[in-house]
Amino acid sequence: MSKNINLNGKEYWRSLDQLADTPQFREFLQREFPQGASEFDNGMKRRDFIALLSASMALASLAGCRRPVEKIIPYVIAPEEIVPGVSLHYATTMPLGNSAYGLIVESHEGRPTKIEGNPAHPSTKGRSNAHIQASVLGLYDPGRSGDVLFKREKSDWSRFLSSWEADYGDYITSKGEGLAVLSESFSSPSLARLAELFRKKFPRAKWVTYEPVSDENIYEGTRIASGKGCQHIYNLDKCRVILSLESDFLQNESENIANSAGFADGRRVESEKDEMNRLYIVESGYSLTGGMADHRLRTQSGQIGGFAAALMLELESQGLRIDIADSPDRFKSLDFNAIPGYDKEWVAALARDLMANKGRSLVLAGRSQSPAVHAIVYAINHALGNIGRTAVYRPIKDSAISSRDNLIDLVGLMNMGRLSTLFILGGNPVYDAPADLGFETAIKKVEHTIHLSGFADETSKRVEWHIPRSHYLESWGDAVSVDGVRSVIQPMIQPLYGGRGSLDLLHLIVNGNEVSAHDIVRETWQGILKGDFEKSWERVLHDGIYDQKSSSVSDPGLDRRGLASYINRHLVIPESSVDNLEIIFRPSPNLFDGRFANNGWLQELPDSMTKLSWDNAALISMKMARKFDLANGDMVELDYDGRKLELPIWIMPGQADNSITLTLGYGRIAAGQVGDNVGFNAYKLRTSKAPYFGSGLLIRKTGAVYKLATTQDHSSMEGRPLVREASLEHYREEPNFAPEMVESPPLKSLWAEHKYDEGNQWGMTIDLNVCTGCNACTIACQSENNIPIVGKEQVSHGREMHWIRLDRYFEGDIDDPSVVHQPVGCQHCEMAPCEQVCPVAATVHDKEGLNTMVYNRCVGTRYCSNNCPYKVRRFNFFNFTKDTPEVTKMAQNPDVTVRSRGVMEKCTYCVQRISEARIKSKAENREIADGDIVTACQQSCPTGAIVFGNVNDSGSTVSKMKNQNRNYGLLAEFNTRPRTSFLAKIRNPNPELISSDEGNKIENLEREKKQS
């Protein structure tokens, strides 16, 4: 092709379908007009939606500018009164399972609009993720329940109160006989205190905690291995070598923010002289973490236990004293060569790498893996001296941990008719309990059932009482992070729908009377805080955290005998054969277990790896697709353990062969207007025996075709130097490889160029070496900049509105490619092609180098978008915000214009934040300092990959980033002079494995070519 592109020998393949050259793809090439786009309102039926919302609108107008009555303390600045137009920031905490995320919430005139991480909190460190960012929309969800329902009819709280008060006395007398509570898992001093009280008052009652997706297996594995119940905390920043056994710790596991931050700290390089960590992963599906890995081994989920055993034996053969490896006889019967993808050399090299980094390495297993695998992993870490260094543990306190077994017992009691009253505190067991338990029928056998839930969901529809639950941003509470750091949940707003929190209800259950959650929390904290309570209380509210240091035990020890016997009994490795298909369940990175299903931002957010939006699909490898003659969107019927589900398939390069991954959280039928009937309910196949994976799946093509919406149709870079990448070795040989990848003739303009050398000149860098592709920036930007959601129909027509998107490219072998992510927003070109072609000068440069978009002036010719080489401009094809419910309008940022139909929009570098900082600095009579302006994407980025600042100040962080030798401008050879630049990605493969890995890939590639 051309001489001026130096690709450093990387082989980039063309699109997936093209490479495969499937008949479907050929058909796609030939078909003329595949499917006519239709009107906007076909997609989400917005008009119907609105009609149904009239009630909530009335509610919302009442809720207008409510502020909490109870005293909450503004963060950092505490003005006498609220100044209109000036936002206040409060600290609070978002509980999610056993995690607690410390937050700073931006509030405008009493309504929270934007959420950021609390820099002081160890679980967020000032960063956040997509769930946290999107939770503010959840607050203003018009689908939230506002009424107490009795047998699905509207009732009221007082009636429920009197009904419980009537029974309360009896239960006190009977010590809780026939009473049960099914709660979500939590880590909260107040909830734990009340739960303890519950046990005291009702010793015969049953308390069960269940989460469909939890760290239960990890806790169990740790307990088996150490003999103690401990909470794990990973210090990934201290790791030189990390092995993940199907742990998607960067996205789909607990504490992904702290993990991402730590991982990035260990990976960041400033020059070719720096060291960086090395990540190995063994997994079935292609996870985000897999995308960051230096070595990735595909195998079925069920085989990972065998792999862990193989690693253990290999480590031992290399002289590591594990102490238990001689006893598990089970290991001897394993045939490691039967593990698909198993490579003795690979394991040996990995073991050597781990051995060379004792105390600076970490092996982690995902929550999908069995307790036995976690126990093995614990033992390996223990032997490697990692416990207490890269993995620390603390005693579990104030927490309720999910237990599948307890749930099974509970359902047993329900079926036997032994329960008379069941309180369900949160959760949605009718939707997400294991399918084999028959929770839906069991619940009918309980006389009184009470469900506390934010939505009148699947479970609410089958209980006697439904109690609306308040959002965490509108209720008092407290939480403990995994590190043991306690914090208070302080409300930002009065409950919009008059709901009650778990605390309110639990207190009522225990004490038979009502006390405000505020008082409950204060009562708990009377016992926690020392000294002057009021003063300390205000301090805690202000800071958002109480304990500065986490309370960790360095080494919980190793229970050698218990471990060995457990492994012998419980390590199950299914037989791997081509005909024995494996089914895998993973929580959705966006909707998690389904609880975020009614959140439009998260529904529309494309999955990091598949780029599917508004749907889930069965993910299969290319090889399997060929075998079963399947193409993207083909409907299949999955038959697992006698249960059937029809859903479309999606070919995922890098997926383990003979494994099919299903994503949980979709297919809701009572989620709300947004989430109902989106995708397919994988819980229908999920049983208590195979909560995360199982074998023996049958698949049948039905012949139907389903339309899936994806935001990226093409996954190859076509040999273009877009994401520039090199191995650490190559980087050391050629430190300037990234800018030198493209040679261009001298870049000269037709006219005199503007200098841009005075004052503040804004610019950005994105370090691709630490960007994981987690999507946090996309949602943060959506929240900050009032970006509308458009629905599946519009997304499938390429009309999604995200100002910053994550481009994902595959490279290498189609069955086992590597993957790279690249966040692309407006590059703010100094020589912007868009500006030149606008006939009305609606997009122009300002003197600080911003490519500004004047919405009022835009007539909507869209020429700017055509001429934008980065295609980052988004057009309002319809009035996307016209039907925004009144209550959801409260989530909008008052500092950002809401765009109407027919205008172009795009990333502004958060110009409103720049203005805010400018005004502030002027008021304080100083220059804007480096770090005064933090863009929304930058703020949310868990790895700190995005840096923004003044490029005209050589001392600014962004200037220093731009001075690094990995810095390059995307398509800068067209003389666009982008202000956003990228820092090239570096991978750190094990030198021992490079040759064999590369050799295999080339071999595979050649084989593929021959086949097609």
């Binding site: 786009a37 093409h714 027509h797 390429g798 295609k871």
Partner: protein
């Protein structure tokens, strides 16, 4: 050297049937004065309905937004722009025939120039609708014009879209004036022949006092010559400017310097094809075979053969330059054009525009009315696809593969294209019925009777001494 003798031997008579001046006037005026043919009612009821649908769809478009089309990011321009360029291209033939052929003394043009000009004006009207309705906010479109305003805001003079407005606007104005000026003597004829008062008044006003006096003829011919002179550069400029809508951008597939001549050639090509299609139908229906003879049609076929090959040359030249440039984006754009998802459109284009006109190398086919009718239809289709290929394929796969998309039209895209034909044919049918479709005064000028010198005794010897 007496070049008259050469031309006499080569030229066939322009008007057949040994017409007298009176016969010319009668034949052409009777179409307007006589009873409306039933076929005309049928035709206008169809085209009128389609035109109404066109306006209905525009109404719906304004109401809903341009999202009703298949547009997306990256393909933010679709059929509206394709149709615009297509119609502007069609609009080239009229002025070319009127102005350039006039200046080149190609007197065979007299039989076809009137309705070719009319066609130009109607095509430009159809073209003009699309840029106006394709913008996101039609109600502020006037901001594109340099209108004084309290904000002292000017449009962006660097934008080719602005040049477009000026180019097409100027072209329309000049073409209209040119057409109208040519109509004046004929309108006066109709006024003189009018049998009722209303007609007399209307034609009287329209003929602006034409009496056919010598001075009037002198001024008229000078004005006509001047307008022809003004229009001639416009023929070249308007489509050159339209091509800058694309070539000024940095998009691979658009960013090419060959565009102006390529577009002009293509425009003439498509314009002639459309004139031919219309002429073949009209001469058949109104029995004008003596005025629009096979000789006329053959000449036009020759022009189409030439311009078709110019277009074909441009297609191949683009590929050569893409390869020669060494620019991977450019190279990909063209490979993708011919072999990518839109290859079907590309090969339709090549077949219709390059392969089909090759039949005109053969005299027999060149003079066969059915053959050329089918060929012109193909060329019309091919030229629409040429614009589709340029606009859509280039946009659908540009620099970053992550943004690549596939454009599919909706029923509204298709409806508006069909609707624009409805508008075009409605205007054209009204023209056929109410205005003289052949320039009587000019045709008379090429009759043998108009040549009083009688050098030879051959009726073909009709050339004026100049």
């Amino acid at each position: 050297m007496d070049n008259r003798m050469v031309s006499v031997a080569a030229e066939e008579p322009l008007i057949m049937g040994n017409q007298t001046f009176h016969a010319v006037t009668d034949t052409i005026s009777k179409i307007i004065e006589g009873k409306t043919p039933k076929l005309w009612y049928l035709a206008i009821s169809i085209s009128g309905s389609v035109a109404l649908m066109f306006f209905g769809l525009i109404g719906y478009l304004v109401w809903q937004g341009i999202g009703i089309w298949g547009l997306q990011i990256p393909v933010a321009w679709g059929w509206a722009i394709v149709n615009f360029v297509f119609w502007v291209g069609i609009g080239h033939a009229g002025t070319l025939i009127s102005a350039i052929l006039f200046l080149l003394r190609q007197r065979w043009r007299t039989s076809i120039n009137r309705f070719a000009e009319a066609m130009t004006i109607f095509a430009v009207i159809c073209a003009g609708v699309f840029p106006a309705i394709h913008v996101g906010r039609m109600w502020v479109l006037h901001w594109v014009f340099p209108l004084p305003n309290q904000m002292s805001l000017w449009p962006n003079f660097r934008s080719p879209l602005l040049w477009d407005f000026f180019a097409v606007g100027t072209y329309f104005t000049c073409s209209f004036l040119f057409w109208y000026l040519g109509l004046v003597p004929d309108l006066a004829t109709l006024r003189d022949r009018a049998t009722n008062k209303i007609k007399k008044i209307i034609f009287g006003i329209l003929s602006i006092g034409w009496r056919g006096g010598n001075r009037q003829w002198k001024h008229y011919e000078l004005a006509y010559l001047l307008l022809a002179g003004i229009s001639t550069p416009l023929v070249l400029s308007v489509h050159s400017v339209v091509s800058t809508d694309f070539s000024v951008s940095i998009l691979p597939g658009w960013h090419t310097t060959i565009f102006p001549p390529y577009f002009v050639a293509g425009a003439i090509f498509s314009g002639f094809a459309m004139v031919m299609t219309l002429a073949i139908i009209t001469r058949k229906i109104f029995g004008l075979e003596n005025f629009i003879t096979v000789n006329h049609l053959e000449k036009m076929n020759k022009i189409m053969l030439v311009t078709g090959m110019m277009v074909g040359y441009a297609y191949s030249c683009e590929f050569f330059i893409a390869w020669y440039s060494g620019n991977i984006y450019e190279q990909f754009a063209f490979i993708n054009r011919a072999f990518g998802p839109y290859a079907w459109a590309y090969w339709i284009m090549v077949t219709c525009n390059v392969a089909v006109p090759q039949i005109f190398w053969f005299k027999k086919l060149r003079r066969s009315v059915p053959v050329m009718f089918v060929a012109t239809i193909f060329i019309n289709i091919g030229m629409w696809f040429e614009r589709f290929v340029i606009v859509v394929t280039s946009l659908s796969a540009d620099f970053l593969p992550s943004s690549w998309g596939y454009f599919s039209p909706t029923k509204y895209d298709i409806g508006l294209l069909i609707g624009s034909f409805g508008l075009f044919f409605t205007l054209f049918l009204l023209f056929l019925r109410f205005l003289p479709m052949i320039a009587m005064s000019e045709v008379k000028g090429v009759l043998p009777q108009a040549d009083p010198h009688h050098h030879g005794h051959d009726i073909a010897n009709r050339r004026r001494d100049s």
